[in-house]
């Protein structure tokens, strides 16, 4: 479904991603792992075209994404949930979700405000509140709900477990598993191996903007030296 090939990305003159390639199949949940500054966020942004890869290609169901403006990437069915959440603090929960709303898409589950409120009951209770009045966990839920309103084919989640309480993390696991049941493709970046293991089928480890490992968690467990070297376990 997603084919990243030989991608190099830069911030100004600093090269961040170096010849990065991987693919993700339909319905798969893949976790991109790596330490702080490894390039996880940049990888997701390079798929979303929020950072434009200088060389290489990103194919999505046969469409070349490199060169498209981000809104077109969203239109072809990628849903992006940023690490910093970036909810619209002056807008209410309902309004935040409205910003993300896109027309229904063929062959993917359709989401509505009601369905998402079922998934995130906390949000439902506070639907009229402004974004700035939400807790970190609630904000995280809202960013996911907002992106789901676009009925994505594939969800890019940047560190969903970061900075939220363990109870909420559990809830997040459940949510992702429910999303997964709908046969949605999910790419999530994580530092938390434990969390990644609970939800993902496969792990890709990057460090210094290069791919260091690509395989199942069973394979990863067989290579403790890799975990040692590239993950802060």
């Amino acid at each position: 479904m997603i084919d990243v090939k030989n991608v190099d990305s830069y911030y100004g003159k600093a090269q961040i991603l170096n010849d990065l390639s991987f693919s993700i199949g339909e319905g798969e949940v893949v976790s991109i792992l790596g330490r702080n500054g490894a390039g996880k966020t940049t990888t997701l942004k390079s798929i979303m075209q929020l950072v434009r890869p200088r060389t290489g290609s990103v194919m999505f169901n046969g469409t070349e994404l490199v060169g498209l403006p981000p809104y077109k990437v969203a239109k072809v069915g990628l849903g992006y949930v940023p690490e910093e959440r970036r909810i619209f603090t002056d807008l209410t929960i309902l309004e935040n979700m409205e910003v993300g709303r896109q027309p229904p898409r063929d062959g993917v589950p359709q989401w509505s405000v009601d369905l998402l409120f079922e998934l995130f009951p906390n949000l439902s209770e506070r639907r009229g509140n402004r974004g700035k009045a939400l807790s970190g966990g609630e904000q995280q839920m809202l960013t996911i709900a907002r992106t789901m309103m676009g009925n994505p084919r594939c969800l890019l989640l940047d560190e969903p477990s970061e900075g939220i309480a363990p109870v909420i993390v559990e809830q997040m696991v459940e949510t992702i598993l429910r999303i997964k049941k709908q046969r949605l493709t999910v790419v999530l970046s994580e530092q938390n191996l434990h969390f990644a293991r609970l939800v993902a089928d496969r792990a890709i480890i990057i460090e210094g903007g290069e791919k260091r490992f690509d395989g199942t968690f069973a394979e990863l467990d067989a290579q403790p030296e890799i975990q040692e070297k590239y993950l802060s376990v």
Binding site: G12, K13, L17, G37, A38, P70, Y71, Y80, F88, V99
Partner: protein
């Protein structure tokens, strides 16, 4: 009592147009972050187009249809401006788009002159609403009552659009984080265009709807600009109810001002604004600006360095050539070059606070004109010797900057910019309206230099010495520890504070210093012309300097100088033609589109590409191990920007 009520009603009626125009400006700024200086021009076009339509569309229906059509026509013009002029430069550094809107002002001025001629037109009266009604025995025009009745509906309509519709939600979301709105699948380009259409339509409606009261003329673009800025700032950027309340406040006060303090109508508005901002720095209904906008990944700035030997030689040769000008040049060329030097000094002083300090002042002319007036007043009233008046001018201008700087320093970003503009307008209106003292519109004349300087060549050398001296002084301060502290405060206020720099005080002092240097250029100016008029304090004068800095390149002093010289020579050349504004405006727009990094920045890029100049960062990009390198790179840049040169 009757008179009181009548005056309140007049004020409310006058508020209609002001509110329409100001709310458009506020909307456009909210979403695009562009301070659209051409907004006054949209208002003027609305008036003229409305007038033309009213000539052909008869009757009551024709009148109102003309108003609406004029609004829509201006909306379409706004879309053309947005697509042709602004879209290519959205990615340019912050506030650069501003320059493009200056260009648009000039172009529209000449196009309006071409189309409607130079004479003021009297607005037709609204059919069916021609007479007056008596309210408590006072006559109140029927049209005023109609305006008072209509405005709340427009306010409600706009409010509904913004607060209740999907478009409104997207607009508000984009006001906060455009990139995220894009990542959620919304085409921002059309959102921007849509907002521009709406904003321009509102301005056009405002222009057309005030026709029966005010008519149309070619000065109304600049005349309303200060007022709408004041309204937007008092009401709070981005707040519609705020714009309405502020428009009413200003208009009502203005009506009373005309009756009771006819000498101070213009000043009053700015006094009100100053008072409001003292109490509520972000306006009545405004919220504090959210710092740290997303999606502004730019290249790190090059650290400024002491001049290399080549540059020094070049500058020395340049100064030598200037010094030799009287030997081979005509006296006209000396006068022109003196003008250029004076202007360059003025621009360089603005560059000091804008480029190095990151403080965008929209009202720098206050200190240029202020210096000129201080000298002129001293000479006129106290027969002060020229030499002393000349030296006191920068002191006076610096003092004005000291006070105004103190008042403005609590604000940041565009609020700061608007407030500086408003204070400059305050000074201008003081000078303009206090005729007995300042000569008002007639200015102050007969301000000649002392005997020993009173001919072309000596004064040319005098200008050269003080002009170049002033510029070198600015440069020297920029490279002193004070200059580093100033740049540190610009780049990262928090880090600078942590190292013990009182950033606000540093910026305040820099503002004062820049004001004093602007005052010096004003003093050079007044003695070279022998007179001074309120135009030297005008918005247009401030804009000149801003244009030059943005076009030359904000980052470098040389940019300001090169830009200043180019503009002054270009103006001297172009003003010989009838439609010079059109030409100059188009040139500015093209430069903005073709050289979005400013002239000097673009030249340097070009030189790097063809290999004349070495790219100073090229050694970084060769290093591998990117992530580590990236971190080192960003860290290094912050350090370089603030460190002391060896």
């Amino acid at each position: 009592m009757g008179l009181f009520v009548a005056q309140v009603l007049t004020g409310l009626a006058n508020a209609a147009a002001l509110f329409l125009v100001a709310s458009g400006l506020s909307l456009i700024f909210g979403v695009t972050r562009i301070v659209n200086f051409a907004h006054g021009s949209f208002y003027m076009l609305g008036a003229f187009i409305g007038y033309s339509l009213m000539q052909v569309l008869p009757g009551m229906f024709g009148f109102w249809a003309s108003v609406v059509l004029a609004g829509l026509a201006v909306g379409v013009i706004g879309v053309i401006v947005e697509i042709c002029v602004l879209r290519p430069v959205y990615k340019a550094p912050e506030l650069f788009q501003l320059v493009a809107t200056f260009g648009v002002i000039l172009v529209i001025q000449d196009l309006a002159l071409l189309t409607w001629g130079a004479d003021d037109v009297l607005g037709p009266r609204a059919p069916g609403l021609k007479g007056i009604v008596r309210i408590m025995d006072e006559p109140v025009p029927k049209y005023d009552l109609a305006l008072i009745a209509i405005t709340p509906f427009i306010l409600f309509g706009l409010w509904y659009l913004i607060a209740r519709t999907r478009v409104g939600i997207l607009v508000r979301a984009a006001t906060q984080d455009r990139e995220m709105v894009g990542a959620l699948g919304v085409n921002q380009a059309w959102l921007f265009t849509g907002v521009f259409f709406l904003g321009a339509t509102l301005a056009g409606l405002g222009g057309a709807i005030q026709l029966p009261k005010g008519g149309a003329d070619l000065l109304m673009d600049f005349n309303i600009l200060a007022a709408i800025f004041v309204v937007v700032v008092i009401g709070g950027m981005g707040s519609l109810p705020g714009a309405y309340v502020a428009a009413v406040l200003i208009s009502v006060l203005n009506v009373f001002g005309v009756t009771y303090l006819p000498q101070s109508t213009l000043v009053l508005m700015f006094v009100v604004m100053a008072v409001v901002l003292m109490i509520k720095p972000y306006g009545l209904f405004g919220r504090e600006e959210v710092a740290g906008e997303h999606g502004q990944v730019g290249e790190p700035e090059r650290p400024i360095k002491p001049a290399g030997i080549k540059v020094r030689v070049l500058v020395a040769v340049g100064i030598l050539l200037l010094a030799l000008l009287p030997v081979f040049g005509s006296s006209f060329s000396q006068v022109l070059t003196a003008d250029v030097i004076i202007f360059c000094l003025f621009a360089a002083s603005l560059h000091f606070i804008l480029g190095l300090g990151g403080l965008v002042s929209f009202g720098h002319a206050a200190y240029f004109g202020g210096g000129a007036y201080v000298a002129a007043l001293l000479v006129s009233y106290l027969q002060t010797p020229m030499e002393i008046a000349f030296l006191l001018a920068p002191v006076g201008a610096g003092f004005a900057a000291f006070i105004i700087g103190w008042l403005c320093m609590r604000l940041t970003g565009v609020y700061f910019a608007m407030l500086t503009l408003a204070f400059a307008q305050l000074l201008w209106s003081l000078v303009y309206q206090w005729g007995e003292f300042t000569g008002g519109d007639d200015g102050l004349v007969d301000i000649w230099p002392s005997e020993w300087l009173n001919s072309t060549t000596p004064y040319y050398y005098f200008t050269l010495v003080f002009g170049i001296g002033g510029i070198l002084l600015l440069r020297h301060v920029a490279h002193s520890p004070f200059g580093y502290a100033l740049r540190a405060s610009r780049d990262s206020a928090r880090q600078a504070e942590a190292t013990g720099i009182n950033t606000k005080r540093v910026q305040w002092l820099a503002f004062t210093f820049a004001g004093a240097v602007a005052g010096l250029s004003g003093a050079l100016f007044v003695f070279s012309k022998g007179s001074v008029f309120p135009t030297e304090l005008e918005v247009a004068r401030s804009f000149d300097a801003l244009i030059v800095i943005f076009l030359g390149g904000v980052k470098t002093l040389s940019g300001a100088i090169v830009g200043g010289a180019s503009l002054e020579y270009a103006k001297d050349f172009l003003t010989r033609f009838e439609y010079w504004r059109l030409t100059l405006g188009l040139i500015i727009i093209f430069v903005v589109i073709l050289a979005p990094e400013g002239i000097s920045g673009t030249l340097r890029k070009l030189a790097e590409r063809i290999g004349i100049m070495k790219d100073p960062d090229s050694n970084h990009s060769k290093i591998r191990n990117p992530a580590v390198n990236a971190k080192a790179h960003t860290r290094e840049n912050t350090r370089e920007n603030t460190r002391e040169d060896p």
